[in-house]
């Protein structure tokens, strides 16, 4: 019986932490977010690739490290903690999971992916409450097949390839420079994670999988990674709030000595601390508990998002006016948590799926 991180996982976390603290401190994140240095995300990803992050979830036979979702969750959490830009979600998690399971292990794309040279975007949003009637259809042609339609809120606009979920639950791979593909960058509140819209007009695509189970496990993985990111970001906000409250004096005392401020921090800690265990468990379930994995992933992203939203608001309030300004950069974490909440299923949508997965809401409401 061992619940928690192994020594290896701790080393992994510490090495990523160290890299991010040294190479991706807040001023680098700011430079990326405000557009003064658009290379930060790519450069960071190359550095992380040297630590093995890009290869983490790829099978060893494909040149990867063959690590597990729990290892990836540990990494995702550090990214949230440091509001790190970069393609981990689409490339390090989704692409490694999908391509590792579908391409021949000697496919050169896998080696590039492992080396951090191939950036893969993810167009999965229409699986989680399609907006604007957006959808993607696939049609087999003589020499492969083509995609048509539209995908919103696609992760990693600067990707070389995109993994695209079709309406039928299949997964496809499309090159960024494929004919008939139009990419429009879309601004969101979270400047650390750029998104785009893709339009496909009979765009040639490589078919990866027809198996809805692969799409389902991909979504489970992505949602747990997002939840881990939120937990990291929320802990960072709590820590900053406690530290700020101890420094900040009003009425001749540190505001940390006011019971109201103490209780705000205690409530954040009380709500957040179980989320740490929940993310570990949900990731472990992806690795080892297949019957529990799906329901746990749904609940984990939903619950962690609700807690994250509360922590983001409360930690900002503890900072008073400073929390509202750009000066401390606290809003990067606030927006990161907001982005995570909305992406790949808001809490209410995920809870409805969780209910259905247990035979509730059988009338289809």
């Amino acid at each position: 019986m061992e619940f928690g991180l192994s020594q290896e996982q701790r080393f992994l976390r510490d090495s990523v932490q160290r890299y991010l603290s040294e190479q991706m401190p807040l001023d680098r994140v700011r430079a990326f977010a405000d557009g003064t240095d658009s290379t930060v995300a790519r450069a960071g990803w190359h550095g992380l690739a040297e630590l093995g992050i890009s290869a983490l979830l790829l099978p060893e036979a494909a040149g990867g490290l063959g690590l597990k979702a729990l290892d990836a969750a540990v990494v995702a959490q550090t990214f949230g903690e440091h509001v790190t830009p970069g393609p981990f979600l689409g490339t390090g998690a989704v692409a490694a999971h999908v391509l590792g399971a579908t391409l021949p292990q000697d496919d050169p794309l896998l080696a590039e992916l492992a080396a951090g040279k191939l950036i893969v975007g993810a167009a999965l949003s229409e699986t989680s409450g399609a907006r604007e009637d957006a959808q993607i259809t696939y049609q087999a042609t003589g020499d492969g097949g083509v995609l048509s339609g539209r995908a919103l809120h696609v992760l990693h606009p600067k990707a070389h390839q995109f993994i695209v979920a079709s309406r039928a639950g299949a997964l496809h791979l499309v090159a960024a420079d494929a004919p008939g593909l139009t990419l429009t960058q879309t601004t969101t509140i979270d400047r650390t994670r750029p998104t785009c819209e893709l339009r496909f007009a009979e765009t040639p695509a490589r078919s990866l999988s027809d198996d809805p189970a692969l799409l389902a496990s991909t979504l489970d993985l992505a949602r747990v990674m997002i939840a881990a990111d939120t937990v990291g970001a929320a802990y960072a906000m709590l820590q900053q709030a406690v530290a700020y409250a101890q420094e900040r004096e009003q009425f001749n005392r540190p505001i940390a000595s006011f019971q109201a401020v103490k209780h705000m921090c205690a409530e954040m800690a009380a709500a957040l601390e179980p989320c740490q265990a929940m993310v570990w468990y949900a990731a472990h379930a992806l690795d080892a508990l297949p019957e529990e994995a799906h329901l746990t992933a749904l609940h984990t992203k939903a619950h962690v998002s609700e807690v994250g939203t509360r922590v983001a608001k409360t930690a900002t309030e503890v900072h008073g006016g400073m929390g509202f300004t750009d000066l401390l950069g606290l809003h990067y974490w606030f927006k990161r948590i907001g982005f995570n909440r909305q992406t790949l299923g808001t809490p209410d949508l995920l809870r409805r799926q969780a209910a259905r997965a247990q035979g509730l809401l059988a009338s289809g409401a």
């Binding site: 949003s125 989680s128 409450g129 399609a130 907006r131 604007e132 009637d133 919103l152 809120h153 429009t184 879309t186 601004t187 969101t188 509140i189 979270d190 998104t195 819209e197 004096e249 009003q250 009425f251 001749n252 005392r253 505001i255 006011f258 109201a260 401020v261 939203t309 608001k313 900002t316 309030e317 008073g320 006016g321 400073m322 929390g323 509202f324 300004t325 750009d326 000066l327 606290l330 809003h331 606030f334 927006k335 907001g338 982005f339 909305q342 992406t343 808001t346 809490p347 209410d348 949508l349 809870r351 409805r352 409401a365």
Partner: protein, 411 residues
């Protein structure tokens, strides 16, 4: 024991939500004005623009702006009448026409000068301010003096006929546009903190003033930081006596608090949210058919109704009903800002991933107002007395509970 809310003195006349014939006639008059002149009003009231100043002048002439400011200072010179003011606000809002300039000069400084300014100060400042020719900013908060405003440290020392001001202010919202600042400074460093403050007025082009835009979480610089280095201010530019600045400032602070929970604005946002929910579709189905999101909407509608009714009660109390509605007034800022924040947040969930869209996103709904207001209202939960300060006030002044013990300075 706190004033028993179950046994407040009570009213005298029966419930009557109509404003009465005199006021309905006034409403008609406002509507006629709006149908005649409304089309010529500027769409946006850009500061100092000739059309702004002309519109402001027309409003004053008709008594729709500067209504209660005496004629000798350029105002309309009417008696205060809360219902008429409310009718003006309602009708201009309904018509989508600017009801004139706001800003801290008009809303805070002018009433202060009318109450505590010298005749010369009133003469010099009120007319250009209400006419939109003189723009003000407010210098109260400092980085180290937020909830505990009275601990402010910007200091002014007399040097001959001038105050010499050094220090820093924050949250000076129109500092970049302002001609003048009204500013709290410490002039008596050895007095108790509330008694060492003075209320100065000075020009923003005085040497030694630096204004830096303060970008906030919405990504915009809604506020500024303002730095003073040996800023020389003529000795006479003080309102009230030396050391009385705290009382001068507090003579008008109350007005600000009431306005932060504006139920009409909240109701307008609720209707906009309902419209959004009818339009927005998830997997082809309108969100207005989603029972869980609609339940959240209905919860907010219930709260907004209650706050609207609370507002009527407060209005009635201001009109002199025997119900003093003290608690009802006191809770508006706390409840109103939290409610707005929650409302804007529901809209973001309604939009799902499109709830993240911002600025030039091609699928942005309603100009991105849901996202920016969600953040802005978090700022308002904090600003103008944080929710924690509000709860202190409600429990102490509203419920009669004891104050926290004071810590001695320097401990």
């Amino acid at each position: 024991m706190f004033p028993d809310p179950l046994n407040f003195p009570g009213g005298t006349a029966p419930m009557d939500l109509s404003y009465g014939p005199e006021y309905e006639a006034f409403r008609e008059e406002v509507r006629r004005f709006l149908s005649t002149h409304g089309p010529s009003a500027p769409r946006t009231m850009r500061l100092r623009a000739p059309e702004t100043i002309a519109w402001q002048q027309r409003l004053i002439e008709h008594g729709y702006a500067a209504r209660t400011i005496p004629k000798e200072y350029g105002g309309y010179g009417a008696e205060p009448d809360i219902l008429k003011s409310r009718i003006i606000a309602e009708e201009f809002a309904r018509a989508g026409v600017s009801a004139g300039l706001g800003g801290q000069g008009i809303s805070m400084l002018v009433p202060t000068l009318l109450e505590l300014g010298t005749p010369a100060q009133r003469e010099q400042f009120i007319r250009p301010t209400i006419e939109g020719r003189m723009i003000w900013c407010q210098g109260y908060s400092e980085p180290g003096a937020g909830s505990d405003l009275a601990s402010l440290r910007t200091r002014a020392e007399l040097d001959g006929d001038h105050w010499v001001v050094n220090g820093q202010k924050i949250w000076t919202s129109t500092a970049r546009e302002a001609d003048w600042i009204f500013c709290l400074v410490r002039t008596e460093p050895d007095a108790p903190k509330h008694k060492g403050i003075s209320f100065l007025l000075f020009e923003m082009n005085t040497p030694g003033i630096e204004v830096r835009p303060l970008v906030d979480m919405t990504g915009h610089a809604n506020f500024n930081e303002t730095f003073f280095t040996d800023v020389r201010v003529p000795r006479t530019q003080i309102v009230g006596e030396r050391g009385q600045g705290w009382q001068v400032a507090n003579s008008i602070l109350g007005n600000e608090r009431d306005s932060l929970g504006n139920p009409n604005a909240t109701l307008a946002r609720l209707h906009a949210l309902m419209a959004l929910m009818r339009e927005e579709r998830i997997d082809g189905r309108p969100v207005s058919d989603d029972p869980v999101l609609v339940d959240r909407l209905m919860r907010l509608q219930g709260q907004i109704m209650a706050m609207g009714h609370n507002d009527l009660r407060v209005l009635s109390a201001k009109l002199g009903s025997a119900d003093d509605a003290r608690l009802a007034r006191m809770i508006i800022k706390l409840e109103g800002t939290e409610l707005r924040h929650a409302l804007e947040g529901l809209a973001i969930d309604v939009m799902g991933e499109l709830g993240l869209a911002y600025e030039d996103h091609p699928l942005l709904r309603d100009g991105g107002s849901w996202q920016s207001q969600y953040m802005y209202f978090l700022g308002l939960i904090i600003g103008g007395g944080t929710s924690q300060i509000q709860k202190n006030i409600i429990s102490e002044r509203g419920l009669g509970m004891p104050k926290e013990p004071k810590y001695p300075a320097g401990v």
